[in-house]
């Protein structure tokens, strides 16, 4: 039962995630990455004659779109069976309490990640603004956490190292500068 209720430790989850890279290579020689599915969806639905979206998305992206569907199903399967708080440190809890976040019962703060909060400043900036930047940034940098931080660093690529440093610079600014500005006045 422990296995189902406690968060899996890093030394179990990390190696499984890392194993994905050689596994996908060994299966079909493909370089593992997730964010390109966003590009595939744009190419499939609204290419609008833009060169960046003129490619055979079925051939190029069929495999990762299938994986993305699997991710949704995996989330569904694992999501319905977990109910405890996320086991973050006390320090993080008290830092977030200062920002007005007090509900730690889900995987994400219920105060912000709900349909109702889309009309509030934090909901608007975090969900819509954050989503936009994730999409824009991942295509501009040509990869996300899976493509650069895991696949790219696994191949010891300098460009991926630079991208990952960029991820952290951006994340630190968002966490320590933007969040207090957006949520400073409480929710």
């Amino acid at each position: 039962m422990e296995l189902l209720t406690r968060p899996w430790p890093w030394y179990v989850a990390g190696p499984i995630i890392g194993l994905t890279v050689p596994l996908v290579y060994l299966y079909a020689g493909r370089k593992w990455g997730i964010s390109s599915t966003f590009r595939d969806v744009c190419a499939a639905t609204f290419p609008h004659g833009i060169e960046h979206f003129r490619y055979s998305w079925r051939h190029v992206g069929g495999w990762r779109l299938t994986m993305a569907l699997g991710l949704v199903v995996g989330g569904l399967l694992a999501g319905v069976t977990r109910s405890d708080d996320v086991a973050i440190s006390e320090a993080t809890r008290s830092d977030l309490a200062v920002l007005g976040i007090t509900d730690f019962s889900g995987l994400v703060p219920a105060e912000i990640f709900s349909w109702a909060s889309l009309g509030t400043l934090p909901g608007l900036v975090l969900i819509i603004g954050g989503g936009f930047l994730v999409g824009f940034g991942t295509r501009y940098a040509n990869g996300c956490t899976s493509g650069h931080a895991i696949s790219g660093l696994s191949a010891l690529r300098l460009t991926s190292l630079v991208a990952v440093i960029g991820f952290f610079v951006g994340g630190l600014i968002a966490t320590h500068v933007l969040l207090p500005l957006i949520m400073g006045g409480g929710l």
Binding site: K31, T66, L71, A78, V80, Y140, V169, G171
Partner: protein, 167 residues
Amino acid sequence: MNTPGPDGAAPATVPATPTREALATRPEPLWPYALLGIALGIVFIRAEVVSWFRIQEMFRFQAFHMYGIIGSAVAVGALGVRLIRRFEARSFTRRPMEIPTERFEAPGYQYWLGGIAFGLGWGLLGACPGPIYVLFGSGVTVMGVAFLSALAGVWTYGALRHRLPHS
């Protein structure tokens, strides 16, 4: 200069011609990717990788958890890639190995600027592309809005691509 981009899409320098994959003989069966996605979705939830709280904890340097996950994933991934190269392993479906070979390619502006833009989004949304899918499946349905917003971001990049600094 025909190395595939970091996400395995089109070659980084010739974006609109992903011919290598299109020309590959027959596409491999796709169902294993569905199983892989399901397995990763479960791991992402069980290890709380998809949690906004965990990402906050990481960017506040208040726990080792996320660093341990990313670090051990890279270690295992790098070892696997090394072994594949060493033994010149062929893929099970006989498709060509797309392991990037160019290690020290000079990182152009796109890696800095795109990386920082992505990081800003990651810090705010608390989810990168994989977790957006997983969270949506787990019942955080408002992540569907984040997904559409990410598509808008990708589309905007595609439209502005020629005006943005690269390399």
